[in-house]
């Protein structure tokens, strides 16, 4: 649905996107994560032809992003945390304005979402709370049943209830064949249950692109009690992240975990430790934090 190849975008001295390549497959929810300033928004703006890449290109719905036209925009829903909305319009005026722009606008679906989002038709967008306004924006981007939904930091600043309503509304489209979502966030917590795939951008480059399932399969938090008088070897295996020793306990994160037998063998070999390690699966949030720390260390 989206194919990004060697994308570059520079603003004066900062290279916001520095050679990003990424494929977003159809029919899945891909979370696009990275710390603030990693280049997420710039990438998304390039995808939607709101920014022109300096180098490289992006293909969206089979079309070069620089050539996107009505044929693509009627199949594409976009909501961004700081998108410009006609704030002087009421919710009703806003929807009346959007409806004719999309030949596939589904009025029954619009009514359904309106009721679900509890939006006041007669209120002007400028008088809505931030959460309400985001819901209005989402409604206007879902009612024509787009094939591809691109969300740029949609949840930042939303309270948990509104975030929940927002996700539920988004999932209203699930019946649709091949429905694809690309959602950026700086906080994995917001998307961890929703995401089939996790793509992480760091300093304008792709740092990771993997299914949530395989990430959770290969990361484990490990804790082991070291034998008496044991010294840690100077070099630990490179796939052991953030090793920390407190007294006799060693903690680390195994980032290439296969099975317990293999890990136990590695522990015996590296530490001559024979006690039973405590091996715990990790949440995507914990994994994300471990990775973010590792990226920061790499950068230093």
């Amino acid at each position: 649905m989206i194919r990004i190849e060697n994308l570059h975008k520079r603003f004066r001295r900062t290279e916001a996107v520095a050679g990003l390549s990424l494929n977003v497959p159809e029919g899945q929810v891909t979370a696009f994560l990275g710390p603030n300033g990693a280049g997420k928004s710039t990438t998304i703006k390039c995808l939607l032809n709101l920014q022109r890449p300096d180098q490289g290109c992006a293909t969206v719905l089979g079309t070069d992003s620089r050539q996107l036209g009505p044929a693509q925009f009627t199949q594409l829903g976009y909501v961004s945390e700081n998108m410009e909305l006609p704030l002087w319009m009421t919710v009703k005026q806003f929807l009346d304005y959007c409806r004719p722009l999309y030949p596939r606008w589904d009025t029954a679906f619009e009514r359904h979402l309106l009721a679900q989002f509890d939006l006041p038709l007669a209120t002007k967008l400028k008088d809505l709370s931030r959460g309400m306004r985001m819901k209005a924006a989402l409604l206007s981007s879902l009612a024509y049943r787009p094939k591809l939904v691109v969300l740029d930091e949609p949840f930042s600043g939303l309270d948990p209830l509104v975030r929940d309503e927002f996700i539920r509304g988004l999932l209203e489209l699930t019946e649709q064949e091949g429905w694809t979502v690309f959602v950026s966030s700086h906080d994995i917590e917001e998307v961890q249950r929703l995401a089939d795939r996790i793509a992480i951008i760091n300093r304008g480059k792709l740092a990771l692109d993997e299914t949530s399932e395989s990430l959770q399969a290969r990361f484990r938090a490990v804790q082991i009690v070291l034998p008496d008088g044991a010294d840690l070897p100077a070099e630990l295996p490179i796939d052991w992240l953030h090793a920390e020793q407190a007294g006799r306990t060693l903690r680390f994160i195994a980032s290439r975990h296969q099975n317990e037998a293999q890990l136990a063998a590695a522990l015996r070999e590296t530490l001559t430790a024979t006690s039973t390690p405590d091996i715990r699966p990790m949440s995507l949030r914990e994994i994300f934090i471990a990775l973010a720390r590792a990226y920061r260390l790499e950068g230093q």
């Binding site: 899945q28 996700i167 699930t174 249950r193 929703l194 959770q216 399969a217 995507l284």
Partner: protein, 120 residues
């Protein structure tokens, strides 16, 4: 509302947790043979999970013989009158493993643990 209870926890993959919850509901009788099973869409919406995950859960349950598709109704629960022993044991395997590990840490022998279980 879903006809089985699940509190999604972080850590293990969502689909594993749902499979476990559904199997538990079937084994305890919270859901019975012939009951309609929620669609992919309502699973996804109720649990706020990706439709891909919801779809995978349904497929896995179907493959394992817990669900049957009925034209016009959708998915229907099918449960063998008495689930296989292996199936029921599989349900308690993770807890048993944790128990054994804890027992080992406390220097308890298997026989001591078994005696204790019997005394409960």
């Amino acid at each position: 509302m879903l006809p089985f209870s699940v509190q999604l926890q972080d850590g293990t993959p969502v689909s594993d947790q749902i499979l476990l919850a559904v199997r538990k509901a079937l084994l305890t009788g919270q859901m019975k043979a012939g009951d309609p099973f929620p669609s992919v869409r309502s699973l996804s919406q109720e649990l706020r999970i990706s439709p891909t995950t919801a779809h995978k859960v349904v497929l896995q349950l179907k493959d394992a013989g817990w669900l049957n598709s009925r034209p016009g109704i959708g998915m229907v629960v099918t449960v063998p009158a008495q689930p296989e022993l292996a199936e029921r044991l599989a349900q308690i395997t993770p807890d048993c493993r944790a128990l054994l590990k804890e027992a080992a840490e406390l220097n308890l022998t298997l026989n001591q643990v078994i005696d204790h279980l019997k005394s409960l």
